[in-house]
């Protein structure tokens, strides 16, 4: 269980905007739905789930399980402007690997919010005793790739022409790994 007593956490962006981070709760479904409706169609193509389905968003809100998926939402003026999730496996061969996903509202991009959310997930990953964080980013999203790299994520692999957009065009997928402090205690056999 990750301690969540650091929330709500208020963050200042470089331009002075104030944003509050806190874990998603069931009552956030409506605000999260509004947030997904701001996301451009092009970006939605890169998401794993169907965020155009209100039922799907409601289902997430009803079935929140922080030990499997911990969603940290960023709020500004009463609206959701960022969604960062830490996905974990309770069992199995990837139980030491956390997958991170971050989505930022268009009007909050390039303002440092994404970087702050990566920093937050890095902290949570350490508190969860994970060994690695894994992020998958479309290579053309260079600002996102750089933000992950700046915070210590390393390019593990680039899959060429691996994913497609809504027009059927293929894109390279960058897989980034962040080795956490516990990764160095790993014993190989």
């Amino acid at each position: 269980m990750i301690p969540l007593d650091r929330y709500p956490k208020e963050i200042s962006l470089r331009d002075g905007a104030r944003v509050t981070f806190r874990p998603m709760v069931r009552e956030d479904a409506e605000l999260l739905w509004d947030f997904f409706r701001q996301i451009p169609l092009e970006d939605k193509m890169y998401l794993r789930e169907d965020v155009d389905s209100r039922d799907e968003v409601d289902r997430w809100a009803r079935n929140l399980d922080y030990d499997t998926v911990l969603p940290i939402l960023a709020f500004s003026d009463g609206r959701v402007v960022g969604d960062a999730t830490l996905h974990r496996n309770r069992t199995g061969w990837k139980q030491r690997v956390g997958t991170v996903r971050i989505l930022i509202a268009p009007d909050f991009r390039h303002r440092g919010l994404g970087t702050a959310m990566i920093r937050e997930l890095r902290h949570l990953g350490e508190k969860a005793s994970l060994h690695y964080l894994l992020a998958e980013v479309i290579e053309k999203q260079q600002a996102a790739v750089r933000a992950f790299e700046k915070l210590g994520f390393e390019r593990a692999v680039v899959h060429r022409n691996f994913v497609n957009d809504q027009h059927g065009r293929l894109h390279n997928l960058v897989v980034l790994l962040y080795p956490m402090s516990l990764s160095e205690d790993e014993e190989f056999y």
């Binding site: 956490k9 991009r109 994404g114």
Partner: protein, 157 residues
């Protein structure tokens, strides 16, 4: 106009160029009042230091190496017993890079390791600022106070 140099009395930063003055004629320190002013100034002093210039000599490199050592010690003091495992991890990586980059023993790779140590140290400072709810430290905003020819590419996400 000749280049001015000063050591800020409040945070110890070695500043140069044409320092602006406050209304009462005192030289204004750009770090004054900022959280972790000592760490920011300590970072920038090294970041914009002569060791990174093309004409840097062995003495510049050695001086920077010693400055990095003191900078890491200052960061460690600021960290205290704060529950920041990611920052602590970065500080250990900074320390590792610092010890690998001693110019007296490894001249060839020293600059690379020193650069890594400073980069990890910057990340720790940013983690400390994040915990206070503040944006990361951006050295480029302080570049005019140093004898900096150029500042690195800035991009945010």
């Amino acid at each position: 106009m000749p280049l001015s140099r000063m050591t800020c009395p409040s945070c110890g930063a070695e500043l140069s160029f044409h320092p602006p003055r406050t209304a009462n004629g005192k030289i204004a320190c750009p770090y004054d009042g900022l959280a972790y002013a000592e760490l920011r100034a300590g970072h920038d002093r090294i970041y914009f230091g002569p060791w990174r210039k093309i004409n840097a000599g062995p003495a510049d490199v050695m001086r920077a190496y010693n400055q990095i050592g003191r900078h890491l010690a200052a960061i460690e003091r600021a960290m205290g017993d704060k529950d920041l495992p990611a920052a602590r991890h970065d500080l250990s990586k900074a320390s590792e890079a610092y010890h690998s980059g001693d110019p007296r023993t490894d001249e060839r790779d020293a600059l690379r390791y020193m650069d890594h140590a400073l980069s990890y140290a910057h990340r720790v400072i940013d983690d400390l600022l994040h915990e206070k709810g503040l944006p990361p430290h951006a050295p480029m905003y302080f570049a005019e106070w140093y004898d900096a020819v150029e500042v690195p590419f800035k991009d945010e996400w």
